[in-house]
Symmetry: C2
Amino acid sequence: MSNPYQETWSRFSEFLSEKGLRMTDQRKSIVGALFSQDAHFTADDLLKDAQKLDETVSRATLYRSLPLLVESGIIRMVDVGQDNKFYALNSQSENFKAQVICSDCNRIEDIDAPFMEWYGKSVSEKLGLKVKDQRLQVQAECPDFRKSGKCSKES
Amino acid sequence: MSNPYQETWSRFSEFLSEKGLRMTDQRKSIVGALFSQDAHFTADDLLKDAQKLDETVSRATLYRSLPLLVESGIIRMVDVGQDNKFYALNSQSENFKAQVICSDCNRIEDIDAPFMEWYGKSVSEKLGLKVKDQRLQVQAECPDFRKSGKCSKES
DNA sequence: GTGCTTGCAAAGACTTTGCAAACTT
DNA sequence: AAGTTTGCAAAGTCTTTGCAAGCAC
């Protein structure tokens, strides 16, 4: 139960059976592949790794699983206003994260910004809005880029 | 010059000629159509209105113009992590805006959040990052939805 | 005239869906 | 057995691109 994979797996199982859905081999592999991902991954990244665990996982199944993983709270969408959609594993820590996106290499880093959360909430609630989710995105040049004109970690 | 269309048009003209590009009828119509847009619009919204002004504006031309409009600073991309990309006219006011997205009807509202800007900047610069752009996105239920379970303005 | 622009249609990238077979419960 | 899930392939959606004709400068 302290194993993050176990924990996630049983959480997903539970979610599925509550909705009358089933845990299949393919879904197991997809959950397993979550743990070999970087902090931010694309649908395609996840598919490739899921197929390493079980080559019968098809693209269709992966795309059918993503909404379930999001709805169950296991992952979240991280849209960075670039071309691709990214996803990220929801960590246990409930700290509000700001996403810092390097404008050169598109690398994404999460930084803690707990104060942000408070601020966004208080502004929104003054307007009568009930906040469900919020994110701060910062586009910036990373230190590597500023020094050398190029990101050392460029993909 | 006080006319926002005039102002925008000449700004775009200038931008184009600096880059050795040309002002065409189609580009004029696209700029004209910017002013019949809501605060946030899609490529398709803009195309439809540009075609009302000049039916010869093609989808290809619209898509070829968008990057130019962004690069010239006339519009900006507003990615809300939903399915579509949105664009918005850059207003003269340089106030930092937070985007509040109604999770029911997907309507987007901008609210001023000048303090946010300061905070995001100060956090990022502590990390050695040079901020180029930032945005706060808040997903929330709007007041209509909370009262009636449905957005009055639902599209 | 030079070479940027255009519309068209085809191609791309990514995601969704219909269907019959297979599998979970 | 009942009903969900699967892979496949086709279809969708949105955006980009090659090309030859047209237009701005």
